[in-house]
């Protein structure tokens, strides 16, 4: 799962990154973060909390956040 996320992020990042790389430093702007999310999450009913997303500082934070959503999607919960 984690590798898949890196691949999706790499589609939009403009700089090399690892989990510790701050999101901005990877070249991800807010619109590209949304793109990552819509590429990863397929259930149209899943809700994202942009306010909480703002707390994600690093690529690792973003991935953790995405995994939470995906887990919710699997069990039918909205995040």
């Amino acid at each position: 799962m984690s590798e898949d996320l890196d691949d999706v992020i790499a589609r939009y990042a403009t700089e090399p990154f690892d989990d510790g790389t701050p999101i901005a430093e990877a070249g991800l702007v807010s619109i590209s973060v949304f793109r990552v999310i819509t590429d990863v999450v397929t259930d149209p009913g899943v809700e994202i909390d942009a306010g909480r997303l703002a707390d994600a500082r690093t690529v690792g934070d973003l991935k953790a956040w995405l995994r939470d959503i995906l887990a919710g999607q699997a069990t039918g919960d909205a995040a």
Partner: protein, 1026 residues
């Protein structure tokens, strides 16, 4: 559109936009205009099919709106291809079609809220789409182009379309439901309250804060576009990487600094649209899921830009993003800002960053260009897009608020600052900007009479030699000729010489008979000494202080102080001696309203400059008869006496008339055929009222100075009816001589209420230094620094204070400037406008209010004899109150002012008082008036407690009941502002829709906000019904 429509939810953002739509006259303000380049093979028929598909699978585009029972959206059925209107035009007509369709006024209730045109020719095929923002946001562009691409390629089968339609309609409703749920969430409510608290503590300032800045506009806009070159764009991207900030944060940081500079504040507030989409499915939808929210941060001008961007701006952006669920309208409800105007109540500057689209030149949809619609939704709007690896920028500004020369300066600052921030991010924020050209500061009125000498005495002597028998000074009982004046002053100077008075000394002069005073002044100047005016009516401790401070050893006249020798003119009669040459002319003390009085030592050089200017500017010659009105201790007295003598005219004594007896003064001016009079600003109103029946056939110039000149109708009419008179508004602190003037005559078409201080006089340099420390561009407020041939030598006996006030002229590289502490700006015509002392500005709900203007407006209401405005602190912020002397009805006065002043400047309460109290130094005692107001309000509350609400009639009762239900308040008083009960935009909306339904009367939202009470609403209803 046909029936069988479905009712749909409405987000707070949509509600806000609906409200704005009602408040503005430019109904096309929220039109989005998109030029979509298609592959040339697609003709109008293929396009019509594709558009039918688009409308089928994008439910948001099928929305219209309705008001009752509560505002809601309607999801209309899908139109067939035949039902879709597509205008067919030739490609050559594209510019004209853009210009025409961008002003299309959509009917939000009937719909549709889109309009299509197809243009072809020259191997091109273009879809011109105009859509209302209520159903389409920036993030809708991508789903639009995606769906259009697929539809044009024939990518949707009928079954797919039906399935997609069902799914998207569900997604659409789910997104709306999610938004509505979050809006109502207690956590959102809490965030809104917290945010409102933060915003309340911030003072915002408008761009180009001139007096009488329009409170509302028709939103006509001008747009300026430019593209950064490849190097500049690359530098921005590199700086963003280095600073670990996004491009949005970079542009916000620069833009905030530009706004700070141009609105003279170190606290930036700007608005930005945030994508508020919550559900994954919504990202495929067209719709209005955006929340426009404020971003606020401090601007420290000394901090490196890099630091500013990453430690002030980035956290501010992140914080706004974390609060994206807070609807704009909730913030407004908490803040209760002024809504009587049609401007955005939270921010006046906007930054919008747009998405890039994955379009290619060989795809069915090749490119998309968004056009402006000719409006400006904000005072200033900045759009930023990445285009082919470069940054494209566009600025839109409201040209009623920002005339082109002023807007050009803002754009200039923006361009310079963007490049500097990108290329040298270590630059302090203030240094992102440049000095405005120095030539602007030295532009003068160029009035000048070449001085025959660099000595004032030699100048007067030279003139006297030519007109020895002309009257130099005339009092009620004697006249002295020029020859006599020269002889007397030479003999008196002889007596001074005998007492050892020479260059560099200071000799006191008590005002006495004008002839003796003039002789004394000239005699002291002949010795190269400076004269020190001593007013016998001042308290003796004050006089003692002045004597001690200046080490004055000789006084001509008599006073109750110890130390110096006192002599009379007669005592000084002696054989003349040769004149001595000194460098100082007088020492005058400032009023000392803050701290101890300061003795200002004025050099001869600046006064020769002033005299040379004044003789030319006020057309002074042998026929001039200048009345000596000012107390000798005010520098104005110099302007009345010496230039008149240098011009060969006659100085006329005011005696025996006392200063405040204006009818007697008017009589004396007429009887003495006075040509020039120089009054304090505060006296002008009383003077013209006393002179209503006087034609003043000899009078030519009425000069005023001392404080901001605010003209009322009576004063203006006085001058207009006497076209031979010129009104001259002079400005100048005692630390310089008079330095700027603005003239008004009957021929002037515009008589501003707030009269500018004008342009510098010859020899004077007037620097406006902005918050960044640079010479301010046009329209930017800053401190006025005065240089050239006007600053005094300094404060006598106070080198420290002198060093602080009189600083080296860093802009010229030599000379001295005096820091006035006065806030001014140069308007778009280069004319200086006084805005007040740095520390004495009154702000009501964030707006700068000039009390004088409110008072001038009130003075023009019949029955008002005197009006005083004052700011009153209340629990919910500062409000303006007005005190009246006279027999006018307070409610009537308030109503008159409502039509004449912007909402924030209309007094919240009006009190009638018997008289205006004054402080010991002659100023209006606002504190005492406010104390009285508090007592009156307290008494009112006691009286109102326990009373049952009373209404004028059934209309009021019904309206009160309706509001009572909407506000969930048991009693709604007829006169109390509904906003004070907490009425917010949605409730206003509902209420006005119900009024329309119940009474058949459409009340404009703007009209409601001008008088948000049950009484006013009822009056509007009754008026319309009759």
């Amino acid at each position: 559109m046909k029936a069988t429509a479905e009712v749909s939810l409405l987000t707070e953002s949509q509600r806000s936009l609906l409200l704005i739509d009602r408040m503005v006259s430019a109904r096309h303000m929220y039109n989005l205009v998109m030029e979509i380049e298609l592959a040339p093979k697609f003709g109008v028929n293929e396009l019509r099919e594709a558009l039918a598909t688009l409308l089928e699978i994008q439910p948001g585009l099928r929305q219209t709106f309705a008001d009752l029972p509560r505002p809601h959206a309607v999801l209309n059925p899908c139109p067939s291809p035949e039902e879709i209107v597509v205008d067919i035009e030739r490609i050559d007509d594209l510019p004209q079609l853009v210009a025409k369709t961008r002003t299309h006024e959509f009917d939000l209730y009937e719909g549709p809220l889109y309009r299509f045109a197809h243009l072809s020719g020259d191997g091109r095929s273009v879809l011109l789409l105009v859509v209302h923002h209520l159903i389409f946001d920036g993030m809708s562009v991508r789903p639009l182009t995606n769906d259009l691409t697929t539809a044009l390629s024939g990518g949707f089968s009928a079954d797919e379309r039906t399935a997609l339609r069902t799914r998207r309609e569900a997604d659409f409703q789910r997104e709306l439901a999610a938004q509505v749920r979050v809006e109502a969430d207690p956590k959102t409510v809490e965030k809104a309250a917290e945010w409102a608290r933060e915003l309340r503590e911030r003072s915002t300032a408008p761009l180009y804060p001139r007096p009488h800045r329009p409170a509302e506009t028709s939103f006509e806009g001008t747009r300026v576009d430019w593209v950064l070159d490849a190097d500049e764009s690359a530098a921005i991207d590199a700086t963003c990487r280095d600073l670990k900030i996004t491009a949005y944060e970079f542009f916000t940081a620069v833009y905030g600094a530009v706004i700070g500079r141009h609105s003279a504040t170190s606290s930036a507030v700007l608005g930005s649209p945030f994508a508020a989409r919550r559900t994954i499915g919504s990202f495929d939808l067209c719709g209005f899921f955006v929340n426009t929210l404020p971003i606020h941060f401090d601007v420290d001008w000394t901090r490196p830009f890099a630091d500013h961007a990453s430690t002030a701006v980035r956290p501010a952006v992140e914080q706004a993003r974390s609060r994206v669920g807070v609807p704009f309208s909730k913030l407004v409800a908490h803040l209760r800002p002024d809504r009587s105007t049609n401007r955005n109540p939270l921010f006046s500057c906007m930054l919008a960053m747009q998405d890039t689209l994955p379009l290619s030149p060989d795809a069915p949809v090749r490119s998309l260009v968004e056009h402006g619609n000719g409006t400006a939704k904000f005072d200033l709007w900045l759009g930023v897009w990445p285009v082919d690896g470069r940054w494209r920028l566009a600025v839109e500004y409201d040209h009623e608020l920002l005339p082109a020369p002023v807007a050009d300066e803002i754009i200039g600052s923006l361009r310079t600052a963007i490049v500097r921030a990108a290329t040298t991010p270590d630059t302090p924020v203030g240094a992102l900007f440049e000095d405005r050209s120095r030539s602007e500061s030295s532009r003068t009125d160029e009035e000048w009479a070449e001085p025959p000498s660099d000595s004032l005495v030699e100048w007067v002597d030279g003139t006297a030699a030519g007109t020895p028998h002309a009257a130099a000074v005339e009092t009620a009982d004697r006249t002295i000729t020029y020859a006599e004046l020269v002889t007397a002053s030479r003999r008196t100077a002889g007596g001074l010489a005998q007492r050892g008075v020479g260059a560099g000394d200071i000799v006191g002069v008590c005002a006495q008979d004008l002839v003796d005073t003039t002789v004394a002044i000239l005699a002291i100047l002949r010795r190269g000494a400076a004269y020190l005016p001593l007013d016998a009516t001042l308290p003796s401790h004050r006089l003692q202080y002045m004597i001690d401070k200046t080490r004055c050893e000789l006084v001509i006249g008599e006073l109750d102080v110890t130390g110096p020798e006192f002599v009379t003119i007669g005592d000084l009669d002696a054989e003349p001696v040769a004149d001595d040459k000194g460098s100082s002319a007088y020492v005058m003390f400032s009023s000392g309203s803050t701290g101890s009085p300061k003795g200002i030592e004025m050099g001869v050089g600046p006064l020769v400059n002033l005299t040379a200017w004044q003789i030319a500017a006020l057309e002074m010659d042998a026929s001039t008869r200048f009345v000596q009105y000012a107390p000798l201790g005010f520098d104005v007295s110099f302007q009345e006496i010496i230039p008149t003598l240098a011009a060969g005219g006659t100085v006329i004594s005011r005696d025996p008339v006392v200063r405040a007896d204006f009818p007697a003064l008017v009589e004396r001016l007429a009887a003495t055929a006075t040509t020039h009079v120089y009054l304090p600003v505060a006296a002008l109103g009383a003077f013209v009222r006393a002179a209503q029946d006087e034609k003043f056939t000899d009078l030519r110039y009425v000069c005023v100075s001392g404080e901001q000149l605010v003209l009322d109708d009576v004063s203006r009419d006085f001058f207009v009816q006497r076209p031979h008179l010129t009104l001259v508004n002079l400005y100048g602190p005692t630390e310089t001589h008079a330095v700027t003037t603005h003239r008004l005559g009957a021929a002037d078409a515009v008589w501003p209420v707030h009269v500018p201080i004008g342009v510098p006089l010859t020899g004077v340099v007037a620097y406006v230094v902005d918050v960044t420390g640079h010479l301010a561009p046009a329209g930017v407020q800053g401190e006025l620094l005065l240089g050239g041939r006007c600053p005094a030598k300094g404060y006598i006996g106070d080198p420290e204070l002198t060093e602080r006030g009189f600083v080296p002229d860093r802009f010229a590289g030599n000379g001295t400037t005096y820091r006035t502490g006065d806030q001014v700006l140069r308007d778009e015509h280069g004319v200086l406008v006084f805005l007040g002392r740095t520390d004495e500005q009154v702000k009501i709900r964030g707006y700068r209010v000039e009390l004088g203007e409110v008072e001038a407006a009130a003075n023009d209401v019949p029955g008002v004899r005197r009006a005083v405005a004052a700011p009153r602190e209340t629990d919910s912020g500062r409000e303006l109150v007005l005190f009246l002397v006279g027999d006018a009805d307070p409610a009537a006065v308030k109503e008159r002012l409502t039509g004449r002043l912007p909402g924030y400047a209309v007094p919240a309460r009006v009190f009638v008082v018997d008289a205006v109290p004054y402080t010991s130094n002659g100023k209006v005692d606002r504190t005492a008036l406010l104390r009285g107001a508090e007592d009156a309000i307290a008494a009112e509350l006691v009286a109102a407690a326990g009373q049952v609400c009373e209404y004028l009639d059934d209309v009021e009762r019904e309206l009160a009941e309706m509001w009572s239900e909407l506000l969930e308040q048991p009693n709604v008083e007829r006169e109390r502002s509904l906003l004070e009960y907490g009425a917010h935009s949605l409730q206003v909306f509902t209420a006005l829709a119900r009024v329309r339904q119940r009474y058949g009367v459409t009340v404009p939202v703007k009209k409601f906000f001008r008088g948000p009470t049950v009484a006013a609403l009822a009056e509007t209803v009754r008026h319309a019904a009759s």
